[in-house]
Amino acid sequence: MMRIVLALLFALIAGPAMAQLSTSPGEVMRGAVNNFIRPAMTDFGGKADALSTAVAQLCTTPSQANLSAVDTAFANTALAFGRIEAIRVGPIMEENRAERLLFWPDRKGIALKQVQAILSSQDESATSPETLRSKSVAVQGLTALEFVLYGTGFEALNTADGAFRCRYGLAIAQSVANVADELVAAWNAEDGIALHLMKPDATFTDFRTPVEAQEELVGILSHGIEAVRDTRLNPFLAKGAAAAKPKLALFWRSGLTVPMARANIDGLQALYDLSGIDGGVPADRTALPVAISAEFAQADAALDLVTDPVETAVADPAQAQALADVVTATQQLGVLIGEQLSSALGLSVGFSSLDGD
């Protein structure tokens, strides 16, 4: 609470000065693309390549040390993806890339069943990225790789007995790296999605004006925060009389559930901050960016309190409360960004739209 009071006080003092720093939609989009999206995509591409290399090393020389290196590389890759996961525009929306990277939510446990079938039948066609590509999207990405690395039978990976499992894992890692490289290439292209967002043009089908591009940015922020709540937290948290179901959480096996949610939120905050979109808020609404930053800080502070893996965290009242507080923060951010920021910027991302009804 004190934090918010201080933040509001700061807004009152800083208000007039901030009002002079009006950022244009074009500047905001350049900030979003050049300061956050492109570097974050490149980072993800690098982490995915490193994962692929680490799995190859494990397959060549199975050992506990090499398996640990894979674990680290997997976490790095997943979290790097978590930071850009909300950028659902451009190449990620083509060729089912989003689903091929991370098939989630998986309400019916499709990925688990299909991955187990591949492992038990030792399906050789799953061991090269080319043939894996023609299979279900559920067996090609990080959800599948997490089961290979942490699911029942993973111990075999550090011995020769795990050869098939490792080769399948390698094909997944390579597939993820391929998709990541495609994203990096598309975002760094001179005439692609980055140009369309930064320099919209009447001849483009997707973004014709700076306002349309900025609406996309606000949509990414708003949908992104909603997705963290609806797909990463709420599904497994206790609700009323219903007990928590931590095994419905993404990446519960690898202990990355909460780090992934944090990566999602951190990525959204970085996109918000680095785009400079707050600079476009009119002088009489400067308390709004302050409130948004305060709410991101609340989410971060609550996440700090969740120190255990998700299965034990939900059983500890303090950590369960902290997770509920993160949900509350995402609800607040949804209203602050999706409704208030959108309205303060004069964008058409309002009551009737942004929802698909």
């Binding site: 525009v89 451009g90 929306m93 083509e94 089912n96 989003a98 689903e99 939510p105 309400r107 999207v137 999605i193 369309h196 089908t205 997707d206 973004f207 014709r208 349309e212 996309e216 909603e226 997705a227 709540r229 609806d230 797909t231 709420n234 599904p235 419905l248 058409s348 309002g350 009551f351 009737s352 739209s353 929802d355 698909g356 009804d357």
Partner: protein, 363 residues
């Protein structure tokens, strides 16, 4: 004057007598009566029954955000459905004389926001989700038994949205949007890679499939959501595209009970202005003109149903609701505006609430 008289007939004998003096005055000052879900400035949700001059005749508080409204002259009732994935529907007396009844969807079902009465007002049909099975169902409610849900039948697809009664009075046409959602995951769309939208014609008495039409396989991410029926019983539909923003497939088409389904060719500038999103579809009173709206693109388009080409394009910020008003259409917006287009004499008005996505002409 026929419109007001039609509404009075719809509301039943004694309706006018039951109104408070200011409601009666509001009704007398207006030729047309419209209904829409709204959000108040304070953030509350409700539904309003209002005249074209902006006089509010009746308001109804809702527990959460509403979506479409359907009214039956014969049943003497209207129903507001919760926006998906809501679990309530409120049956109301347009005169506000009888207390509203709140229906709750049964365990394992939620509403999709649309419904329709049978011609005799006996049955109410609502699009619902059997979300564990990821299948659409039509819930059937008996209006003479306190709106008890007596049965259900399939929509023959996933993610049904709007449904309408065909002019034969027997066949329901259902827009299966194709998108799977589950309340555990809020409004997250769970199957964008395997969407299978369709238009289904279903016999409302037997629940049997009469016919089902799909667009080309390459258009499987084109979610068919809203519909209106023209003078020749063609079902016009508007779509929302869930693929990449860099693609811009056609969004408006028509389907017939003879098995034809076709997208019409909107000029590219109009199509791009729709931003891959049609929020509602309406037919003019004579069924010769179809209007579609896009709150994403702030655009309203009126289409000549015979010529299958746009005859008017109008901008309305956050505009979505559409209803016939005789000569043309009224359109409403999330910014609280109401305007007339395509021959409507309605003058632009501003309200202090946000209109939801759909506007219904009651009388």
């Amino acid at each position: 004057m026929w419109q007001r008289r039609a509404f009075l007939k719809a509301a039943g004998v004694g309706f006018a007598a039951s109104l408070l003096p200011q409601q009666l005055m509001a009704l007398e000052r207006n030729e047309l009566v419209f209904a829409s879900s709204v959000q108040t400035k304070a953030g509350g949700y409700g539904a309003v029954l209002m005249g074209e001059r902006g006089d509010v005749i009746t308001t109804l508080a809702l527990p959460d955000r509403g979506h479409d409204i359907t009214v039956s002259i014969e049943a003497g009732r209207g129903v507001v459905f919760a926006r998906q994935p809501g679990t309530f529907a409120v049956v109301f007396d347009p005169a506000g004389k009888e207390a509203p009844i709140t229906l709750t969807s049964p365990e394992g079902r939620h509403f999709y926001g649309h419904g329709v009465f049978s011609p005799d007002g006996r049955w109410l049909y609502a699009t619902e989700s059997d979300f564990e099975a990821a299948k659409g169902v039509i819930g059937v409610y008996d209006t003479r038994a306190g709106y008890q849900r007596i049965s259900e039948f399939p929509t023959y697809g996933t993610g049904p949205h709007e449904l309408l009664l065909m002019p034969d009075g027997k066949t329901l046409v259902i827009a299966n949007g194709g998108i799977e959602t589950h309340p555990d995951y809020g409004r997250t769309e769970l199957n964008l890679d395997t969407m299978d939208p369709s238009v289904a014609f279903v016999d409302r008495t037997s629940g049997e499939l009469v016919g089902q039409l799909r667009l080309d396989a390459g258009l499987h991410q084109l979610s068919i959501r809203h519909m209106a029926i023209d003078a020749r019983s063609r079902v016009w539909f508007g779509c929302q595209f869930r693929g990449s923003a860099s693609a811009s497939p056609q969004l408006v088409g028509y389907a017939t009970m003879d098995g034809e389904i076709k997208l019409i060719e909107l000029p590219s500038v109009t199509l791009l202005d729709l931003r891959n999103y049609v929020g509602s579809v309406a037919a003019s009173s004579d069924g010769s003109t179809i209007a579609v709206s896009s709150p994403e693109g702030d655009l309203l388009v009126a289409i000549d149903a015979e010529g299958k080409r746009p005859v008017l394009v109008e901008t309305l910020r956050n505009g979505c609701g559409l209803a016939p008003d005789g000569a043309g259409f009224v359109a409403s917006s999330g910014e609280g505006e109401l305007i007339g287009i395509a021959g409507s004499r309605e003058e632009r008005q501003q309200f202090d609430f946000s209109f939801d996505n759909h506007m219904l002409r009651v009388g």
